[in-house]
């Protein structure tokens, strides 16, 4: 019993038999360790949120959304930069597999993760000095061939690990697919330029106009560098194998975009343009053609309806809004004209196998259509150009043969990006290439240190089931929409179509995050505990501690945990090597402990660096 405020006479101040110790805020009533009533113990065990899991480079999406929610933008930016060298680029161009996986999509609308990422990326661009520093130099030299997403990512991670990195780029400007494959109205050049500046700032040397196989050979790479990452990408466009494809006015998707992006384009498109293909590149080509002065743009696809097209629905919608016509179920069998294209000969066609997998079956019996055009842009995929590579490392698909760690045999050569992912079942996306570059960089580091490469064997519990969370704490709330330029005006300009979030919008959107399976320090368990035996020392880091001396195992905290991070574990499971009522935390703290540790460090780091 507390004696605070009571005047105790001197003679009573000595301890005497029968008096019990007063409880304290720190220790509670240690005379009664009620923890031995318990049969089930609450344990914090963080699961992997589905967004982190779906992301090609496993960005800690839940982590940075949570930091944005709390207004810690710089910490959020630093967290994103661990896995993603250019959030301002992916914040614009990413096909957001995270949003498709978002659990909130099953509840009302998925979180607009990409828009928040862009907000953070732009914030990072505005900083005078980046939060990321190069690692302590270890004296080793690494060459990265190609400066596209995979090469950029590998170079970035290697520079952070302390390597002296040189990027060899065959084009006059660095950026690879980020520059050549993505139009300006999606990703303005200055944004990419700034990200490449950042890469140079951490000590990466970029040599442009250097083509592997021509200016530098395989043996020279082997001799001059300790290791090499090949991220050459897919550079050669596929043809549609139509008669007269070599006529004037026949363009190919990626070179068409690349020349515009590099500023070396000499093409003037005519009034009527046809685009062959139904993928994302085809959509970009169609929309770029409008901006290059075309009046009527028609997209000709083998797919019989828009739903089957291997493209992002939002982009498809925006394209149709801008006035591009769709023509389904046909393919080009010949390009007609006298030296210069005048028309296309079209035949009905369909995929013979599964959807979007060649070969296609052309119905030659049907009557051919004549479709008058001034230009045609063929965008039916790309392939690699690997003449310089020793044959032993080539696959029958025309890609580079690697083991599961991205390594070419026993050499110190590694490959990453589209060049290895083509045909692997993974969609070819910027973010997947970034992830590949990151993993390969870490594997390369291990090889050069002489450590064994081991696949990750830790089982990951991804939280997909909304029943594992307490949904009463999440009111329905609509998604904050990004504003778009009006369709009529954007047809003629190179200005960005999708507008950025304001700070308020970013915080509002980040607040919608469920934080699936991961403790985000909402204080629910802390507030509802009847004992109360849940304590937290540092308020903001989300690390709670359960005093198992007192926890009676009522499981109110588990039931009221909105994110499903808390779990009940039978007390009997703790008997191996663990003294009962002695450990206050989980058998393995899992992500929870790690994340808390990371978040704690981030604060210091960000403060010091800026």
């Amino acid at each position: 019993m507390s004696t605070k405020g009571t005047k105790i006479p001197e003679r009573l101040k000595i301890p005497f038999a029968g008096i019990t110790p007063a409880p304290t805020q720190e220790k509670g009533q240690d005379l009664f360790p009620t923890g031995n009533w318990r049969s089930i113990r609450p344990v914090y065990r963080d699961k992997l949120p589905p967004c982190n899991n779906a992301c090609g480079t496993n960005e800690k999406i839940q982590g940075y959304l949570d930091l944005v929610k709390r207004g810690k933008y710089l910490d959020a930016y630093a967290l994103i930069k661990e896995d993603m060298p250019f959030p301002s680029v992916t914040g614009r161009v990413c096909y957001h597999p995270c949003e498709q996986a978002c659990n909130r999509g099953k509840y009302d609308e998925a979180i607009s993760i990409r828009a928040v990422e862009r907000f953070l990326g732009d914030l990072g661009q505005a900083l005078a000095r980046d939060v990321v520093k190069a690692g302590t130099p270890n004296g080793k030299k690494v060459a990265v061939v190609g400066s596209g997403p995979a090469g950029h990512s590998a170079a970035y991670q290697l520079a952070r690990l302390g390597y002296k990195v040189t990027i060899l780029e065959k084009s006059p400007k660095a950026g690879g697919l980020n520059r050549g494959g993505i139009p300006d109205w999606v990703l303005p050049q200055h944004v990419l330029d700034r990200e490449i500046e950042r890469l140079v700032e951490i000590g990466v040397t970029i040599k442009t106009n250097v083509e592997v196989g021509k200016d530098v050979t395989w043996d020279e790479l082997k001799k001059n560098y300790d290791a090499c990452v090949l991220a050459v990408g897919l550079t050669e466009p596929n043809s549609v194998r139509a008669e007269g494809e070599n006529k004037d006015g026949v363009l190919y998707g990626l070179p068409f975009l690349r020349d515009i992006g590099m500023g070396t384009s000499k093409v003037k498109v005519g009034a009527r343009v046809a685009v062959i293909g139904g993928g994302n590149t085809a959509i970009d080509c169609a929309r770029e053609a409008l901006r290059q002065g075309a009046v009527e743009v028609t997209m000709i696809t083998v797919e019989s309806n828009p739903q089957e097209m291997p493209a992002v629905p939002e982009d498809l919608h925006d394209m149709v809004e801008e006035g591009v016509e769709l023509m389904h179920g046909r393919t080009v069998t010949a390009v007609l004209g006298n030296g210069r294209i005048e028309a296309l000969q079209l035949h009905p066609a369909r995929f013979s196998g599964a959807i979007n997998a060649s070969p296609i079956t052309v119905d030659k019996e049907a009557k051919a259509e004549r479709f008058a055009v001034d230009n045609v842009i063929i965008a039916v995929g790309q392939r690699a150009s690997l003449g310089w590579l020793p044959d032993e490392f080539k696959t029958e698909r025309g890609t580079i043969k690697i083991d599961r760690f991205g390594r070419l045999g026993d050499t110190n050569f590694f490959a990453a990006g589209d060049i290895v992912q083509l045909g692997s079942g993974q969609p070819l996306m910027v973010v997947n290439a970034v992830g590949d570059g990151k993993r390969v960089a870490f594997n390369l580091d291990k090889v050069l240190r002489g450590q064994a490469l081991e696949p990750r064997t830790v089982p990951v519990d991804v939280l997909f089931d909304l029943n594992r969370m307490n949904m009463t704490y999440f009111p329905h709330f609509p998604r904050v929409q990004q504003t778009l330029l009006p369709a009529a005006s954007r047809r003629k300009t190179q200005e960005e179509v999708i507008q950025a979030y304001s700070e308020e919008q970013a915080v509002e959107e980040a607040s919608r995050c469920f934080s699936c399976g991961t403790c985000n320090a909402c204080d629910n368990c802390y507030l509802v505990c009847p004992e109360p035996c849940i304590v937290r020392d540092v308020r903001s880091n989300g690390l709670y501690k359960i005093l198992v001396d007192y926890c009676k195992g009522c499981r109110v905290c588990i039931e009221e945990c909105p994110t499903g991070c808390l779990e009940g574990v039978p007390e009997l499971d703790f008997d191996t090597g663990v003294v009962r009522m002695d450990t206050a935390f989980a058998v393995s703290p899992g992500l929870h402990g790690r994340q808390a540790e990371e978040l704690k460090n981030l604060g210091d780091r960000a403060a010091k660096n800026i």
């Binding site: 019993m1 405020g5 009571t6 029968g18 304290t24 009463t472 629910n524 109360p532 009522c554």
Partner: protein, 354 residues
């Protein structure tokens, strides 16, 4: 003799978008006047309430504990979990004891014998003390307007003596004093005393409010409003009792939410300045009472007509709060549209086989 100005504590009101827990609240005080190591049951509703109340009140607080669970279970062997001064009093004298403490501090401050702010004086009476045995003394304390907060932690029965019916036990609630049987299949036949409205109507100069452990921030804010109110304040707080209600312990907070969403425990405030009820609190959903009843063993014997009667009672509460009733709730008030509780069906077949 110079008059000494009474220093009063002013506790800030916490902000929260939905009055529930959910969001990290930087304003939450860090002190814990109620510490672990007490001997209440696992998942105890009253002790959740006790903890939230004391956390909201802070360290300069004096607690009065008339006989009840929170006295019996917590103060055995002269050892209590209260980290602030706490005193036990008889079950009937909750109000008079609290009034005495408040009056003593007023006098001590007036005479200059107590330096410092006037403490938060809180009386934590169970519903047995507050609605039956100590009703008169609490009414007296409120009537005389002593500066104190009297809380009725309402677990709807006498729980520390082994679950006996109190005047707050709801219609249909099974206790050892109101067991269901062939003559009285609904167990308790009387509807509960509307204690909080009685206190508001009888002592209109007092701050009176109801709260539930399902809405922690709302509860803590009402405690602070009651303490900030100059004069007597009265709070009735819904606190589920795992032993008496017979439910699974993790559902304590859930029940606190459901009872409000089902309309069986309206949440309101009596505004003593305007002399009016404030019904602005709205739960996220409105649900039929069966969703609340089916979680609890004490309602397991109910037949369809009893559930309909309870739904009618809930509908009246909604109407009293000026809420327009959705069709579904009117529909659910008709016994024809309801089924017996599963346990009740089984009990009938047992009776027939015998």
């Amino acid at each position: 003799m110079p008059t000494i100005e009474v220093q009063r504590q002013v506790l800030p009101i916490l902000g929260s978008p939905n009055q529930g827990a959910r969001f990290f609240n930087p304003e939450l005080p860090s002190s814990e006047p109620f510490v672990p190591g007490h001997r209440t049951c696992a998942g105890c509703g009253p002790s959740i309430q006790y903890r939230m109340t004391t956390k909201a009140a802070g360290d300069n607080t004096i607690l009065v504990g008339p006989t009840g669970c929170m006295y019996v279970a917590n103060s055995s062997y002269l050892c209590t979990p209260y980290n602030v001064p706490w005193a036990h009093t008889q079950i009937g004298s909750a109000g008079s004891f609290t009034a005495g403490v408040a009056a003593a501090y007023e006098a001590m401050i007036r005479k200059g014998k107590w330096k410092g702010a006037f403490p938060n004086i809180i009386c934590e009476a169970g519903d047995g003390s507050a609605s039956d045995i100590g009703l008169a003394s609490i009414s007296g304390a409120l009537y005389r307007n002593h500066d104190c907060l009297i809380i009725c932690y309402d677990n709807e029965q006498y729980a520390n003596t082994g679950i006996q019916a109190s005047s707050r036990t709801p219609y249909g609630g099974m206790t050892t004093f109101s067991p269901p049987g062939p003559k009285v299949p609904e167990a308790k036949t009387l509807f509960p005393k509307d204690l909080a409205r009685m206190m508001a109507a009888g002592h209109p100069h007092c701050y009176v409010a109801t709260a539930s452990v399902g809405y922690p921030i709302d509860l803590m804010n009402k405690v602070r409003k009651g303490l900030n109110h100059k004069g007597a304040a009265y709070l009735m707080i819904y606190t589920p009792c795992q032993k008496g209600f017979v439910y699974e312990t993790p559902r304590s907070i859930d029940l606190g939410r459901l009872v409000v969403e089902c309309g069986l425990y309206p949440i309101w405030e009596w505004n003593p300045e305007k002399r009016a009820y404030d019904y602005s609190f709205r739960p996220q959903n409105m649900r039929p009472v069966s969703e609340y009843l089916k979680l609890q063993g004490r309602f397991g014997h109910l037949h369809a007509e009893h559930i309909a009667k309870l739904q009618n009672f809930a509908n009246e509460q909604w109407r009293m709060m000026g809420v327009e009733l959705p069709e579904a709730l009117i529909h659910a008030a008709d016994a024809k549209n309801l089924v017996n509780m599963a346990a009740a069906v089984e009990a009938e077949t047992v009776a027939q086989t015998l």
